[in-house]
């Protein structure tokens, strides 16, 4: 059952020193900035973070890395033009990196959520990223065996949650959210708005409430003033 809490600080209380945290977002889109800020405040450290990137600029995950709260990153694309905090931590030997092709990252998270023990993927076969991994030829194609990635806690961002915890996302900010929600023992979501049960058409639910443990509604996002309603999901307009 989904619990609703008033503050991001309460929402991230489940994260402990040494936790594996699945962190939504592709770049800044879909990254749960307010939950990460609360995590910074909380002082939690020694984290393993699973995320597509390793932080951009001076926001979100980049700050967690700057503050040396992250022991290890499992991601596909750490190095970017503005990933200076990761770059510095990595060159200083302060952070461990497991590099995973993006599709394998997504599929390994899905496998964790779907109870799949391991799967054969063609991605990465014959490359250094598959070194040491089991391979197999199936019907003339070569595959690498990959295993699930499970999280203790997932921190993700969605747009709307109803009282049953059903989630709607917004545009390409959806990215890893729905998959990570299934892959963690406890899923925490920051949303812009909470709506009553019945406000979301059951045909449109992207993440069913069964995957959602804790929600905090932040209200209006300063980056998305109310003057842009046409960019919001349909249900949001009706609510």
């Amino acid at each position: 059952m989904t619990e609703f809490v008033d503050t991001a600080a309460e929402a991230v209380a489940r994260v402990q020193d040494g936790s594996t945290v699945l962190l939504g977002g592709f770049g800044n889109a879909g990254q749960p900035m307010e939950l990460i800020d609360a995590l910074l405040e909380s002082g939690t450290t020694g984290l393993t973070v699973v995320s597509n990137n390793a932080g951009q600029g001076d926001r979100g995950l980049a700050l967690l890395i700057k503050e040396r709260r992250v022991r290890k990153v499992i991601c596909s694309f750490p190095r970017q033009s503005d990933s200076w905090h990761f770059d510095e931590a990595y060159r200083a030997g302060d952070i461990e990196l497991e590099l995973v092709p993006q599709g394998n990252l997504a599929e390994r998270l899905r496998a964790a959520g779907a109870g799949i023990g391991a799967f054969f993927t063609p991605t990465g076969y014959g490359t250094t990223l598959a070194e040491g991994k089991e391979t197999r030829e199936i019907d003339g194609r070569h595959y690498v065996l990959e295993h699930p990635i499970r999280g203790d806690v997932a921190l993700i961002k969605a747009h709307t949650a109803d009282d049953a915890g059903n989630l709607l996302y917004r545009k390409t900010a959806r990215n890893f959210g729905p998959v990570m929600a299934t892959a963690a023992a406890h899923t925490v979501v920051q949303v812009q708005q909470r709506v009553p049960v019945g406000s979301i058409d059951p045909e449109h639910v992207v993440t069913p409430g069964i995957y959602v443990d804790t929600v905090t509604a932040l209200g209006a996002d300063p980056a998305r003033p109310e003057g842009q309603p046409e960019n919001h999901p349909q249900e949001a307009k009706h609510a």
């Binding site: 990595y90 092709p101 997504a106 599929e107 490359t127 390409t172």
Partner: protein, 225 residues
């Protein structure tokens, strides 16, 4: 610009135009970060090409400007983009299922090297001090029905970038279908008798001059063969 042999090399714009013209009408296409992005400028509306971006969208439109910029609507290069009518959004596992499952018709990528067997090296220079980052490169390489590469034929030091065997770390094996370069277009055939590379057209040098610069057997265009 013609698709026949010519005496001048192809500019990056020429290459983008050439690739765009070679994409079949109605195709679903993923354009990689960098040079391949330019291809979209040359796709005609009547080609009805649908663009995929691996961060979770089909029906991606052109780059967004001014008031249209929305930080929750970006492409794989994290550039704000727009939405075409008929677009759809999906999560990351579904997005990569589209690629890995072979549902895209064409993927256009940049490269450091391509081998005569169609191996692709485009994600890492292998420099010992470099911070590695792969993103969706390995998924794109093995996923689409056809993988087109856009790059210069020669490196700054004059060595060819289509080679017998890649020396850079590989992205994928035997995955490239075509290579579009300033000096010509190369077709990689993954036949049952093993791979072979055919020069479709040469630019800025003759087909024989191109063949002389490469360290693997190149099949020349029929009219020159």
């Amino acid at each position: 610009m013609s698709t026949e042999n010519s005496t001048s090399t192809l500019s990056r714009e020429d290459l983008a135009r050439l690739v765009a013209a070679d994409i079949a009408p109605g195709s679903y296409v993923n354009l990689g970060i960098g040079q391949p992005t330019k291809v979209s400028d040359h796709l005609r509306a009547d080609q009805q090409v649908t663009l995929h971006t691996e961060n979770g969208m089909l029906g991606m439109g052109p780059e967004a400007h001014g008031e249209d910029i929305d930080e929750e609507l970006i492409n794989a290069g994290k550039i704000p983009v727009t939405e075409r009518p008929g677009a759809s959004y999906f999560h990351q596992a579904d997005s990569f299922a589209i690629m890995r499952g072979g549902h895209l018709d064409v993927c256009v990528l940049g490269a450091f090297q391509v081998s005569a067997a169609g191996d692709l090296a485009n994600w890492s220079t292998g420099a010992p001090d470099a911070i590695p980052a792969v993103g969706g490169a390995m998924d794109l390489a093995i996923g689409a029905k056809q993988v087109f590469v856009m790059m210069s034929l020669f490196a700054k030091d004059g060595t060819p970038k289509i080679v017998a065997d890649c020396t850079y770390p590989l992205t994928g094996l035997a995955c490239v279908s075509r290579v579009y370069t300033d000096h010509g277009v190369f077709l990689v055939d993954h036949g049952e008798d093993g791979p072979s590379v055919t020069l479709r057209e040469a630019h800025g040098m003759s087909p024989h001059e191109v063949a002389d610069r490469l360290d693997f057997p190149l099949t020349l265009p029929a009219e020159n063969g």
